[in-house]
Symmetry: C2
Subunit: 691 residues, 2 copies
């Protein structure tokens, strides 16, 4: 009976571990993410009830009104309190917004995003120089909302806030997998919630050309599988972003990563066609012909059209990963190289870049490109985006180039959030002079899309993007990883208010796998694994654009809380001389794991989509058993039999391999636990203390 009851039950590890801790939050604990430049909590609170309204003395600005409406709707949704959504002018309103001037019509690099927020027990005052600062402050206000038996409230607090870096972006690669407009809009909503300000829209790739050109409609007709954005949709996205103080910078990657262009225009490639949309993942040879004047004419017209369509001052021209093979094999290009005394393909590319830069300049745009474009001959208003790291970024700054950092923020790679969080465009030990440091504008998280689809992309972006957002907004010394995770877990649920599907994805995809709602046991197992890294996936599965991304690896999320929570319990147990703290919880968890195994195994037998994880499930069973045994030994102060420890360590070591496209996130705490069980002195318990 006991076993069956457990068997049919669903355990969210998170649920088990924090059902209580959550109920009693510390008073006025900081929940803000990103952490403001300065924040000082007092012990009081301003209640939120149906007397709440928002007022402003600013000149009417529809963007402010819209932001207030959005904020109020979310506040209403959380609290079920009916609150007026329109902006009042009543100075007795609970939230007053002072604004010196409206922001310019469109967000621009370097815009003023500063604000202050002063909350007393009776009123909150949000002050900003410009609209976008007020919009950032409204997000802060919403993150402050808390509750207890007394009702909803915001803590009394004094905040002066402004960003550390002016360029805080997210690259979304819609080339390899297309993403529908509504997902981009939700992404913009989420970005605004964590105060990011650049959507870097990676629109063209070997695998797809995603933006309508009215001058060259064949680009999408032949290069997009019908999956592209119309110019109306582009305008819609730009307006949507602008309303949230977010710039939209398009990227047209060239001279390489351009196969999809050449499906329609093989004549502009450096080797004869025909070309087909690339379906595989990797680095490919098709490259623009850098010596063909017709190609430059085409690019002039195309970029001219795009320069009108996209309002931002910057256009990203990529410039990465040109293999040079087509150039090597093209006699005319080789001749040109010789004639011009260009010593290698990098110098050919510099020639190409200079031509493109002049085209962009003519159309009123500044150029951004990846590391590879860095060359002293380019003008100094070019921005170099570094996928190579802060050293490469620093090298650019030393040459006087502005730069943004991408390398540590590749969120597609499925690394721990902490890795991204601790990356820094300007680390404490930077050797740049203060002048050079000013050239470091910020950074961008990169959501490359080989392994994400509309169904999974949001769980790859969220909630981890919040950690990158904090790195780029908050002071450098905000680096407490545990505290980051605590706040990220909270923000994650708030992001779901915006319709983002990251929190619901796993259950949704598991239901489909087993064609039913009975995903309980499977969820237990799924909470202990995360997807393979991007590299592992490529090597193990060799997937392409044409394969379904609906494996367990796509359903589970990167860096789930299970591992961290288990670690906390193990640490608690090890630290307790009485060998009791956390033991009951650990036993319960491992029992649940164990009890779920038969159902998961049975599901994997009935639903072939799960067959690939069967060996992983057996390992999961083994992990549960070693966990149970270890806690038992610890609690009984008994010594495990000889061989128990090495056998388990070997097993854990084996389980470190990626298998079934997923990786365990619970191995470190189990390793620590079995080590402790084997090595802790088997002394009797201390005598009970006198009462």
């Amino acid at each position: 009976m006991r076993v069956r009851a457990l068997f049919g039950s669903v355990v969210f590890l998170t649920s088990f571990l924090s059902a209580f801790s959550q109920m009693t939050p510390a008073s006025n604990q900081n929940h803000l993410m990103p952490v403001p430049a300065t924040v000082r909590y007092q012990s009081g609170r301003m209640p939120l009830d149906s007397t709440f309204s928002v007022a402003s003395d600013a000149k009417p600005d529809p963007r402010l009104n819209a932001a207030v409406q959005r904020m109020v709707r979310r506040l209403q949704g959380r609290t079920t309190i009916t609150i007026p959504t329109d902006l009042k002018s009543d100075t007795a309103s609970k939230l007053i917004i002072h604004l010196k001037a409206p922001s310019p019509a469109l967000p621009k690099f370097g815009q003023d995003e500063s604000y202050t927020l002063e909350i007393s027990p009776t009123q909150a005052v949000l002050s900003a120089n410009e609209t976008f600062g007020a919009i950032r402050g409204l997000e802060t206000f919403l993150q402050l909302v808390d509750s207890d038996q007394g009702g909803y409230f915001v803590p009394t607090v004094s905040i002066q806030d402004s960003p550390r870096f002016p360029w805080r972006g997210l690259l979304v690669d819609v080339g390899r997998h297309y993403e529908p407009i509504e997902i981009l809009k939700r992404t913009l909503d989420g970005m605004a919630a964590v105060k990011m300000n650049v959507l870097h829209w990676h629109l063209t790739e070997d695998q797809g050309f995603r933006v309508e050109s009215k001058k060259f409609p064949k680009l999408t007709e032949m290069g997009s599988d019908g999956l592209f954005y119309t110019q109306e949709q582009v305008k819609d996205i730009i307006a949507y972003a602008a309303e949230r103080g977010i710039r939209v910078m398009p990227e047209f990657d060239m001279p390489a990563h351009t196969t999809s262009w050449f499906v329609a225009y093989p004549e502009f490639a450096s080797a004869p066609g025909p070309y087909q949309i690339e379906r595989g993942w990797g680095v490919f040879d098709p490259t623009f012909n850098p010596i063909d004047e017709r190609a430059y004419k085409f690019l002039d017209e195309f970029l001219g059209e795009m320069a009108k369509l996209f309002s931002d001052d910057y256009i990203h021209i990529g410039g990465d990963e040109s293999t040079g093979r087509q150039w090597d094999n093209n006699p005319a290009i080789q001749e040109f190289k010789k004639k011009r005394n260009l010593k290698d393909n990098a110098e050919i590319q510099t020639y190409f870049n200079q031509r493109i830069q002049k085209i962009l300049e003519k159309h009123g745009k500044k150029m951004v490109g990846w590391d590879e474009i860095l060359n002293p001959e380019l003008p100094k208003d070019v921005v170099v985006e570094s996928w190579r790291g802060d050293k490469a970024l620093g090298a650019g700054a030393k040459q006087g180039f502005q730069g943004i950092l991408a390398a540590p923020f590749y969120i597609d790679l499925i690394r721990p959030t902490s890795t991204h969080y601790l990356g820094d465009p300007l680390p404490a030990n930077t050797d740049l002079t203060p002048e050079q440091q000013k050239l470091v504008l910020g950074g961008e998280a990169c959501m490359w899309s080989e392994h994400v689809t509309p169904e999974s992309i949001e769980s790859r972006i969220w909630p981890r993007l919040a950690a990158v957002a904090e790195r780029l907004w908050s002071p450098r010394d905000v680096r407490d990883v545990d505290d980051m995770y605590r706040r990220m877990d909270r923000v994650s649920v708030q992001l779901e208010e915006l319709g983002i599907t990251h929190e619901s994805q796993t259950a949704r995809m598991l239901r489909r796998m087993v064609q039913g709602r009975d995903i309980g046991p499977l969820l237990i197992f799924a909470s202990t694994v995360q997807p393979a890294t991007a590299d592992q996936r490529n090597n193990l599965q060799h997937p392409t654009q044409l394969v379904p991304y609906t494996h367990l690896a796509d359903a589970v999320v990167p860096d789930p809380p299970t591992g961290r929570q288990l670690q906390a319990l193990v640490d608690k147990l090890i630290a307790d001389p009485a060998r009791k703290a956390g033991a009951a919880e650990l036993t319960a968890i491992f029992s649940h794991w164990k009890s779920s195994v038969p159902a998961v195994t049975s599901a994997a037998n009935q639903y072939p989509v799960l067959a690939e994880v069967l060996p992983r499930v057996q390992e999961f069973d083994q992990l549960a058993q070693m966990g149970l045994d270890a806690v038992n030994f610890v609690q009984n102060r008994s010594t495990p039999p000889a061989g128990w420890l090495p056998a388990n360590l070997t097993a854990i070591d084996q389980m470190g391999k990626t298998r079934g496209l997923v990786r365990f996130v619970v191995l470190d705490p189990l390793h620590k636990l079995v080590q402790f069980a084997a090595n802790a002195p088997a002394t009797p318990p201390p005598a009970p203390e006198p009462e």
Copy 2:
């Protein structure tokens, strides 16, 4: 320890009850919904693997190609098998589509939707007269997909299928609450999955005017809060629907339900303005002036514009719930009435309807209206939609009018799915002649939107709409309620493939309520309740368009499976002379209920949004206890103490009340269980049978 383990765990009742039964499905059991006109399963199967592809000998029809692509993507998603998405011409393909002729450019009333599907162990052949029939057949194919340890497969089967009724619609009221385009598109996807063919788009209401008029832009500028569909979006929806063989019929409700029109044009009302968008729910007085020629001129121009925009042959003019008060109080109208010898307001409305019908006729459209428009003087191509019931519908048919039935299909009312399912436009006992029966064209489910928002509407439509779809498509004698629920639960999860959010809604909204992921105990409680009925909600809460719909009542779903599953277990226990069957499961369920109470109570204390259900939680605790006691008495064959039964029956009776805006769905089985526990003879167990 035991209690804590249970305490932190999450139990989906569904999970508990069917984790095993699901693993061993009966071979080639019918999963289709709607049930085809005729279906004959054989015992074999056709495997689905990477050799699968789809071919057609039909003339190229982009709609067929698109439908095949959609089908293949879903098949890929479920199975992770890589399958070509393009339509082949290879006759050795596993699925062959024969098509006599493409359907006309746009779906029309009465279109041919028939198809046959013959699946042998080696090949599936789908044959249809027209494209839309093939599209229906592709949905059938997808519903047939099954799996076991041997892999994915479809059963060998012979299906001849065509709909019972030609008009199978869903009304979506976007007037009271606006719904974004992407939700309408997902709704159309879902409708296609269950073979419905009319989207009845209720575009105007007292509470909002939702469609752009280029001739009268003030209608949306002043009457929509900015929430309306542009003409581009309307065309987009019509095209999206047409691709799926679904007609889009707009409704412009008049002469009443028109407050939002009069915000911009008070001069066309029967009483002086000004008017404001109505925020409350109910029946309101503002009504078009039926004697004002300027109003008819305006309606002529407006309907002329809409007649061009909407391609369907039918326009719905509402006509319901005119209070007549403005007419009674308008001396000019009274004079007109007298002069024309109109005996009551209904006759004034008939005059209005006749004028409107002529306008529609002029613009090439046929008129549809609610019951109230029924009048012998209207031409016989008018269609009457009956919200009053099949008797009213029959009365129309007897006068020679075509009709569609809405009354039993009001899915906004939160009634049991079975109620909707058993409603019938032509019940077995109809007194209509065969000729009159032909005038009954079908029916429409109605999703009135007082109490739904974009966040909750999908869980109010799905999966229950599938039951209405079956009523309107399948033969009349398909009426097995248990079998319907079994198939609906399966189809529900398949609908989630389309992005529909009904299955993920409860968890998503609960996470927001408790601002965290720890919703386990709350989910246990939530699975035992459903929302108040629409009437109860109005009476208890008096909500308006301006209040947040984010209560527990909005998070939970109508007619959840918990009640039915508990009933099945109780019935099993009662039927077992040994008094064992189901007892362990029941005890486990009631224990889980009980163990969740402290955490739910604690959450309701910390999160005021849940405070309103605290009394309900105490009742839940009580229900759990009486369930545990009852099973105990039954198993021990002991008699409950005097007073136990009446006390519990009184308690259950009390709990029948709607409270905290939710209703229990588990009272009937508990009632039966405690009755049985009290009244079953307390005999000793039967002697064990000899081995």
